[in-house]
Symmetry: C2
Subunit: 203 residues, 2 copies
């Protein structure tokens, strides 16, 4: 078993944090996406969509998509539960994960794709996409702050993959496209500091 990883990309970090929270160690192999190694035939045979990370099982099965890889490990190693426990909690984790993914992470991806000089060579940039997505990202962080005003973690009392997803997207937004959460969002700031202080955050 191994995971194809790239330390500078945001999605593989979710898997590294998830595994650190589970106390699991899996060998990593770096795939240099800046050198477009993920677009060459050997990698495309593992994942025709060319995205990182990919989990390769011992029988050769390849699982791509960070959340799908996390789901695999959740099933094999249920403790601590990071996708929730019981129908209602699992549904709430999924609800928040999807809100984060489909609203915030999507806005971050759009700003990165259409606004970063680093993507200008590989994407047909439409600069008009940047501002509406900056507004959408800021509005989402306000909603997240309101949600966090009555609970320690995004989906409730327990740290979950929803926190990992939000934390990785917020960090990528901060470091790559200058999305800085408004410090007046006090509940968000308290949550961010708590997640950043977990040992898994450096994974």
């Amino acid at each position: 078993m191994k995971i194809y990883d790239f330390k500078l990309a945001p999605n593989p970090r979710r898997v590294r944090i998830f595994l650190a929270e589970k106390g699991l160690t899996v060998p990593y192999e770096q795939v240099d996406i800046f050198a477009r190694k993920n677009r060459e035939a050997p990698f495309l045979a593992k994942n025709p969509f060319g995205t990182i990370p990919v989990l390769e099982l011992d029988d050769g099965t390849c699982i791509s998509e960070s959340v799908a890889i996390c789901r695999y490990f959740e099933e094999q190693h249920p403790e601590p539960p990071l996708f929730g426990r019981g129908a209602r909690e699992k549904a709430e984790v999924e609800m928040w994960s999807r809100r984060i993914e489909l609203i915030f992470s999507q806005a971050v991806r759009m700003i990165w794709a259409h606004g970063s000089p680093l993507t200008a060579k590989v994407v047909q940039q439409i600069p008009e996409n940047v501002e509406p997505n900056r507004r959408s990202a800021a509005k989402f962080l306000e909603a997240l702050d309101r949600a966090l005003s009555d609970r320690p973690f995004i989906a409730g009392e327990r740290f979950s993959i929803a926190d990992i997803g939000a934390f990785c997207s917020i960090d990528f937004g901060k470091n790559s496209i200058a999305i800085t959460p408004d410090p007046a969002l006090a509940s968000l700031a308290r949550w961010y500091a708590a997640v950043a202080a977990r040992p898994s955050a450096s994974a």
Copy 2:
């Protein structure tokens, strides 16, 4: 328990098909999103993001996001399994669901938001977004056709929520923004006909 639904929107249809496949009946209440009832205070108290569908449990808990609602019912009524069975199958269903959602459904949403006369009044349209997303959607359907050449359903031998997600997005693309899958994609056409022939497709 009830589900806030709107018959003309694509996301609630996923839940209706899912429940039909499970053989479950849940009362529905229609929320007219064309009249923006989902943006009024009573509905926003149930889902601050204003999206449809929403599952309201008897204790007042509200779960939004179609896949989160499906996850709730999968946990309560595991048979037949529509999110897969066992770690590897569950991971493969999640992998395909995410590819569909993050590539194809996302492209469909962009074409709808930026290209439909029906959304012109509520979205700041950027018409340059339409063509690249049409190409992305078409390319994804080619990849899906290749994947379906060696299996009956998207994630393997078993019908799953990945099939429901793809079917609903393809139908919405067909009916709303004239994305017609190339009939030369024979495996895709065979799969589509099989899914459309299931009794759940009319849910």
